[in-house]
Homo-oligomer: 192 residues x 4
């Protein structure tokens, strides 16, 4: 038995306008200057329409992430048989994506958003790739003998992404060429 409802249905237009406005303002002014009122004004939408569907700024930003409006959704690292090369390419893409969007300043905004909102945090894990996708590539490496059987796969993934975040948070110089290689090198070591 389908449940019936009368009246207009959620406006897809409004939803898209809000997400676009949020993504645009996030990119141009950063999460700390992102306000509900600003999003509503930019989107040409009542504030209530935002609060009706999302509980907070964080929720809106999280949905932007899901939709790939803030960060292009990361592909999994590919499997060419050479783990180091695969991870290096994958990390390079991430670093370049961030650089394109504003570099460390943008990344810091993203980190603040993630730290303030569990929705964003959870989403960012996917968008940045610090999740199953790396782990499954690492698992393949275990199978192929590139990594030993009891290697702490999740921690390796986290160390790779973490090395990127930490540079943004702690104001180390912005990312340079070769950074991805050095990070992979740092985590995977010479001859593993």
């Amino acid at each position: 038995m389908a449940e019936h409802r009368t009246g207009p249905v959620r406006s897809e237009q409004a939803r898209v306008d809000i997400l676009s406005a949020a993504a645009h303002l996030f990119a141009s002014r950063g999460y700390e200057h992102l306000t509900m009122e600003g999003i509503a004004a930019e989107a040409g939408v009542g504030k209530q329409t935002i609060y009706r569907w999302w509980g907070s700024k964080g929720g809106v930003v999280a949905e932007c992430l899901i939709e790939g409006m803030l960060l292009p959704i990361r592909p999994a690292p590919s499997d060419s048989g050479d783990l180091r090369a695969d991870l290096s390419i994958w990390l390079t893409e991430i670093l370049e994506g961030i650089e394109l969007l504003g570099g460390n300043a943008f990344l810091r905004s993203l980190i603040v958003a993630a730290a303030e909102s569990d929705e964003v945090g959870a989403r960012l894990r996917v968008s940045l790739g610090a999740d199953a996708s790396v782990v499954s590539r690492l698992r393949a490496a275990v199978r192929s003998g590139e990594l030993r059987a009891d290697a702490p796969l999740e921690e390796i993934g986290q160390a790779l992404i973490g090395a990127v975040l930490v540079r943004a948070v702690m104001r180390l110089p912005s990312l340079q060429v070769g950074a991805a290689d050095r990070i992979v090198d740092a985590v995977l070591g010479e001859l593993r």
Copy 2:
């Protein structure tokens, strides 16, 4: 020839009261609920006295870090000759310190503060130990042959700390026993 200035001198009492109030409120309510008015009220101080000496919340928090009022200042990893053991002990201490102060929620607050304020960011690097102290321990490891000569020492340090941060930011389960070991294992590998 010393330069002379007349007039009253900065009140050390007020400075300490402000930092104590800020540290206390940070610890109990988190950075996002930390307000200049709250600090002033808690410290029994005029707001202007805060603005006179610090330009922002971030500045105050950074000085709290310097004074070791938020995080105990980290000792360098010791050098017992066994790099993995030394790093593991050092990282365990850091994790326990954070856990004691509120765990990942506290760490997230710290990260937000660091991401929003370059002063805090720079200070946090020292307080969390993601700086010269690890690197110099790693350098010793190079000399003793535990690490190869061209290992990317800074990136190794960042990967270690980054693995801790990333778990907080991305809402991975709070830190457990053995976490330090696994992180060190992830970064240093089996038999380096």
Copy 3:
């Protein structure tokens, strides 16, 4: 064709609460101690709600005057055929009204408010009666021959009210019995 606007309408409750609070605080503490924050707190209203509708303290006080919440709105002097008696009664009522509300101190507050805000100044002219109402009584006196045809009617009205104000401003002893008569006598002279 009426212009339409969507959205909530101005809250009459808030408006009245604000004016009551302002009038009450003015009467009890004087204009110089009247603060926007005090009004907002007393009225149980956000400060922004005051600023949304009035630009300044002066505007609020002016509207209090319009509403007769500070000074009862003055009736015009009546016309019994005896100008001096009519003016004397009228001025006596004004003096008694002021005396009741705090005497010269209250009047000084009113004068400060008027001097600082053109809205209050314009309104006070009406409330104190230094306007058309006296002049029209004087015009009747011209018609009945009590005043000569080219008497400077406006200046006469201003001199009457001015004699009251000047005693407040210049800290002359507070108003006594017979004051109204003497003022009317001073301005109209013996046998005009």
Copy 4:
């Protein structure tokens, strides 16, 4: 027996600098924008030096009045035998003086200062001439028969000055030519 005191004596330089600064700021920005800090800065003086000798802004302004730094001290109306002419000249001078210094806006500032400070109020009475000097001229007029013996002399003086103040307070159009004559006419009437 003179009482003796050790230490330096009050600095005449500072006193004059403060009064000049106050008078200058009053003239250029008005009493409502006159601040103790502004005076101190303009005078190149410590705030305490002001508070040491005057209790308040009002006190400083009152002394400016005494020194004739805000308003030239008014001469008494002269006695040519023609009361109306004498008063008219005297009032014209007052109006011209005010006009020169900023007109009604300046006068309003003066009124606010007087209403807020009893020292200024008392002083202004002298400076504006609403005091013994008019009354004594009026008394001469009684003696010469121009005014009847029981005319309320003080109230006449107050009505004259009051008519000027009331125009400033109540935002009536700024003073015009002939105003003095009309005011004298209003108060003294045709043929007294």
